[in-house]
């Protein structure tokens, strides 16, 4: 559990966030906007999708650098979306981070075995920490 910092944390490699396109697939508007806001504040280019179908369409059109994917979505589930992303050779190497409130071991294992780069339980991470994860994955790529 992290203690709230009294000073806003500044991220080290702020400069290159501007070239990073993040696709956010999340049906909960409140949560989507909170994360999008934080990402934009950190100068990421943010694309938002409310469900899996929209997410896949935007993914094809705009070729994001990384996808933040919720699992419980109307229509296609997050697992289906992940499978479709990884099956398509055009984006198979695109990192997908699952950001969900599921998080039992089978969910995590299923997500990772389908090719997700990481599995984050929403309630256990702050927006800041999610961004650090994104940067870590992109840097390690």
């Amino acid at each position: 559990m992290d203690k709230p910092n009294s000073e806003p944390v500044t991220l080290q490699p702020v400069n290159d966030n501007g070239n990073v396109k993040v696709l956010l697939i999340e049906d909960d508007r409140f949560l989507r906007e909170l994360i999008a806001q934080k990402l934009e504040r950190e100068k990421f280019q943010v694309m938002q999708a409310v469900d899996g179908e929209e997410g896949l369409r935007k993914l094809g059109e705009q070729k994001p650098n990384i996808v933040l994917l919720d699992l419980i979505l109307p229509g296609l589930s997050g697992f289906d979306v992940l499978k479709k992303i990884k099956e398509d050779s055009a984006n198979a190497s695109m990192p997908v981070v699952i950001l969900s409130n599921l998080g039992q071991r089978e969910d995590v294992e299923r997500g990772l075995s389908l090719g997700a780069s990481d599995f984050l339980i929403k309630a256990h991470f702050t927006p800041q920490e999610i961004i650090v994860k994104i940067q870590g994955i992109l840097a390690g790529k």
């Binding site: 559990m1 709230p4 910092n5 009294s6 806003p8 944390v9 909960d28 409140f30 949560l31 909170l34 994360i35 806001q37 934080k38 504040r41 419980i72 409130n101 599921l102 998080g103 039992q104 071991r105 089978e106 339980i121 929403k122 309630a123 256990h124 702050t126 927006p127 800041q128």
Partner: protein, 407 residues
């Protein structure tokens, strides 16, 4: 009292075609044991004349031919006698064998059925056509098995519903909790403008309460998974020392901030790698260390030690904390139970930590117990088998132990 009870009537009828075990013993012994004996006796009586004439041959009519005949008669008689004794003994042995089999076979059937039943298998029934006491016993056994089946089904249904409810509720709770957490964090980070120190402090308090709710949800989910029996364990060769050391390491800072001396004692001879689920064991250790540091007052000590006792590793987490009141000792590992003294301290806690820890240790084939005295401290001790038969991924099914062990 002249009324006829139809059930009794039926039982009487039923009884009339019954062969109680005692009757079976008598009949079998009579047929296979006593009958050859009687035949043998009758034959030997018949042979007595020949026998007597052989023993006391008439000296007057003595002639060598008769003597030879008598001698051969004697040999025949001897052979016959030996044959009948042999038949009698074999008959008796056969009788005993048949008898013991007719008794032991149903017993073996019952033993197998009981084993299956205890294992938690459904529809275990014993079908015997022996028309004796065993058949009655089978009837009662089947009634009991049916009753157990029904109860288990009901229990499972309730458990499923409860777990499903908790899972859904927990999941539904997490979304708004994330929203609150992220909003607070955004505010605390100053993303929406600078706040006064007072505003920040009160928001920080709200944030930490929210964090408590989040961890409560995580624990509730763990518990519901434990009860669903769906927790999958992944046993891999792991160093227990390292796992414990890592957990202790995580509490170093917390202990330091509370001015508690936290020490870790390794075993004198290093333990071999053991099949452990590192993640789950870490959770158990975490829960135990959280309790030890939470309920030990400033200036106290917490020590963690590992030692080898025969084929087991023994881990002791000893504190000089508030201890557990005597009356609460036997409930301390129960779900949602918190000792009365710590409830009075108004410390946060869900009463799930030890329940979860016990489950994890037991799934590793180990045992956990506590020794404590109120106001003096507690020692939580658990053992883990060094050579666990479990390896790799094991899905924990709701075993008979769980069904019988509780309630």
């Amino acid at each position: 009292m002249t009324e006829t009870n139809p059930k009794l009537e039926r039982e009487k009828q039923h009884k009339s075609i019954r062969f109680p075990i005692s009757l079976k013993i008598i009949i079998t012994t009579a047929i296979f044991g006593v009958a050859p004996l009687i035949v043998a006796m009758v034959l030997s009586l018949l042979a007595q004349d020949i026998f007597v004439s052989l023993m006391f041959p008439n000296p007057v009519n003595f002639d060598p031919e008769a003597r030879v005949a008598a001698e051969s008669n004697f040999m025949n008689l001897l052979q016959l006698l030996i044959l009948f004794i042999f038949i009698t003994i074999s008959g008796l042995i056969l009788a005993l064998y048949l008898l013991s089999r007719s008794i032991s076979e149903p017993i073996l059937d019952f033993r197998a059925a009981f084993r299956e039943l205890v294992k938690g298998k459904r529809n275990v029934r014993v079908n015997l056509g022996t028309k004796d006491e065993f058949e009655d016993l089978a009837k009662h056994f089947n009634e009991m098995a049916e009753y157990i089946d029904k109860n288990r089904e009901k229990e499972e249904k309730i458990n499923d519903l409860k777990s499903e409810f908790i899972s859904i509720a927990a999941h539904q709770l997490r979304s708004p909790l994330s929203g609150i957490k992220w909003t607070f964090k955004t505010l605390l980070d100053g993303d929406l403008g600078v706040m006064t120190t007072e505003q920040k402090e009160s928001l920080e308090r709200a944030y930490s309460v929210n964090e408590r709710l989040i961890s409560l949800v995580a624990e509730l989910l763990d518990v519901s998974r434990i009860e669903e029996g769906k927790i999958g364990y992944n046993f891999n060769g792991t160093s227990l020392e390292r796992a414990v050391e890592e957990a202790v390491e995580e509490y170093k800072l917390i202990a330091q901030n509370k001015n508690i001396e936290l020490s870790f004692f390794k075993p004198q001879i290093a333990l071999p790698n053991m099949p452990l689920d590192e993640e789950r064991l870490g959770l158990a250790l975490n829960n135990l260390l959280a309790n030890a540091t939470n309920y030990t007052l400033s200036g106290g000590r917490v020590s963690v030690s590992i030692e080898r006792v025969n084929e087991e590793a023994k881990v002791t987490i000893k504190d000089t904390g508030v201890g557990i009141p005597k009356g609460d000792m036997n409930k301390i590992f129960s779900k949602f139970f918190r000792a009365s003294n710590v409830v009075r301290m108004q410390t946060p806690g869900t009463g799930l930590g030890l329940f979860i820890a016990r489950n994890i240790i037991e799934k590793h084939g180990g045992k956990i117990w506590v020794e404590s005295e109120e106001n003096k401290g507690s020692s939580f001790i658990f053992t883990l088998p060094i050579n666990n038969h479990k390896q790799g991924f094991v899905v924990d099914d709701l075993s008979a132990d769980d069904l019988v062990g509780e309630e």
